[in-house]
């Protein structure tokens, strides 16, 4: 599974660095390094709604604050579907 974070000027100013760091931490904490490829992308052309993030092909608009919710509500279920043994989805 790929998570792509936009690191263009606009998204950078809106906090893409904090989003990247949060995702790195969440992936590490849950031991999902082998399941998720975190990568960067220059401008996705969605500057108005940044920070722009792609989960495979699906577009999400994140802020550093909403990153954890995104991870729990969108990323974990997706992994659970493919490999249920890997994840336990916490109740937020």
């Amino acid at each position: 599974m790929n998570i792509t974070v936009c690191i263009g000027s606009s998204c950078h100013l809106k906090g893409s660095r904090a989003v990247v760091e949060k995702l790195e931490r969440l992936i590490f904490e849950r031991g999902l390094k082998d399941e998720i490829a975190l990568c960067g992308s220059f401008c996705m052309g969605q500057c108005q709604t940044g920070v722009s993030v792609l989960l495979d092909d699906a577009y999400f608009s994140l802020t550093p604050e909403s990153t954890e919710r995104f991870f729990v509500q969108a990323v974990l279920p997706k992994i659970a579907k493919a490999k249920p043994e890997l994840v336990e989805i916490p109740q937020l």
Binding site: I7, S9, L13, L38, C39, G40, F42, C47
Partner: protein, 393 residues
């Protein structure tokens, strides 16, 4: 006459003020005669502070302007003698000077009056320069004519440098031979003229124990081969011009730097290679760099260039950010090294398209400044002695 050689002069200078003074009594003036010929004058005014500053500013300005206009040295010296205000306490008008006239960057005429003799490092070794004496207006003036070679380093300085350490670290100050030997160790490294003058003055300041007893100024001139560099920034205002802009940019000789997310996406499409963005933040405030096979450096746009401009302005001032950008792994430091240290001839390709997202008033940077940023950066680079050409699309 234009020369066809591949050499150019990298000129850098810096001053230390006499402890407690706000003005420097030394002054450097550079005047271009034509594309390849330059007159550099280093003047040291009598005393320190305001008086000395006025004397040295007038002296260097008059000599450089007159010589650059092709007037004879005798006329310059007479003009100075007739123009300089006479010091009321000492009854004399006095400023020493060193003139370096570079002709086509292949010959240097060195004219010296009472400053420490110019040092020439050739192949890393100090080389003595034979001089002939001439009396003009009662002043003993020494002239030298030397054919320049690639990697020659000329160092002109005021006596504040050789007086460093008098009575302290050294009994008789820092002798010229010692200075030459000290600088020989840095010749091989490939530092810019500005950095070399900073290094020499830092040591001077150290010998003075941080309290310079005189104004001290160094001007370094490095004869080096020309190195072209190209920087592309911003998509063209008309989308149909993408192809044209890219083919002109990639057709240029030298390294290629691309700044901006959209711009690098267009370049990646043009080259038909993937654009890979890095996720590492060596500098937390500068967005990560990217890579495109066939492009030497890919960075984000405005934020990065804004930082490069800060570094450029600081470089021309006291160069105190040097340690940050000379080693930094972020995009801005990388651009700074390529433009300030490596390049001598820089082509800017500036696209004028407006990014709608950048019109958001909540963002802390005014993106309309992009064009202005490049203009200011180009201006700084020209002050560093580089040839700059900017094309808009």
């Amino acid at each position: 006459m234009t020369s066809h050689n591949h050499l150019c002069a990298d000129i850098g200078y810096m001053s230390l003020n006499h402890a407690g003074e706000q003005l420097c009594g030394d002054h450097i003036e550079i005047a271009g005669m034509d594309e390849n010929s330059t007159v550099i004058v280093l003047a040291d005014g009598l005393g320190s502070g305001v008086k000395a500053s006025i004397l040295s500013t007038l002296t260097s300005k008059i000599i450089s302007t007159m010589l650059a206009a092709g007037l004879r040295l005798e006329d310059c010296v007479e003009t100075i003698a007739a123009t300089l205000p006479v010091c009321s306490s000492r009854g004399i008008a006095y400023s020493t000077f060193t003139i370096l006239r570079l002709v086509n960057n292949e010959r240097a005429e060195i004219i010296q009056y009472d400053n420490p003799a110019v040092i020439l490092l050739r192949d890393g070794k100090s080389m003595e320069l034979p001089a002939s004496m001439q009396v003009i207006g009662g002043k003993n003036i020494y002239r030298t004519d030397v054919a320049l070679r690639e990697n020659d380093l000329l160092l002109a300085m005021s006596d504040g440098v050789v007086h460093a350490g008098v009575g302290g670290v050294y009994n008789f100050g820092w002798r010229r031979e010692d200075i030459a030997r000290y600088m020989e160790t840095f010749w091989h490294v490939g530092f810019t003229a500005k950095t070399l003058s900073t290094i020499l003055l830092q040591e001077t300041n150290r010998l003075y124990d941080g309290q310079p007893g005189d104004d001290a100024t160094v001007c370094a001139v490095r004869i080096r081969p020309r190195v072209p560099m190209n920087l592309l920034c911003g998509p063209p205002s008309i989308r149909d011009d993408n192809e044209k802009m890219m083919s002109l940019f990639f057709g240029k000789e030298g390294k290629h730097i691309i700044c901006g997310g959209t711009t690098s996406t267009i370049a990646a499409q043009y080259l038909n290679r993937p654009l890979v963005a890095d996720l590492a933040f060596p500098d937390p405030k500068i967005p990560p760099i990217g890579t495109i096979d066939g492009v030497d450096l890919v960075t984000e746009g405005v934020i990065t260039i804004n930082r490069v401009l800060e570094y450029a302005q600081n470089y021309l001032d006291d160069n105190s950010d040097y340690e940050r950008w000379s080693t930094g792994r972020d995009g801005a430091s990388r651009i700074a090294r390529l433009l300030f240290e490596e390049a001598t001839d820089i082509n800017f390709f500036v696209g004028c398209a407006v990014n709608p997202a950048h019109q958001n008033p909540e963002l802390p940077i005014n993106f309309n400044l992009k064009m202005r940023l490049i203009e200011q950066l180009a201006d700084c680079l020209m002050k560093m002695g580089k040839r700059v050409k900017t094309s808009y699309f």
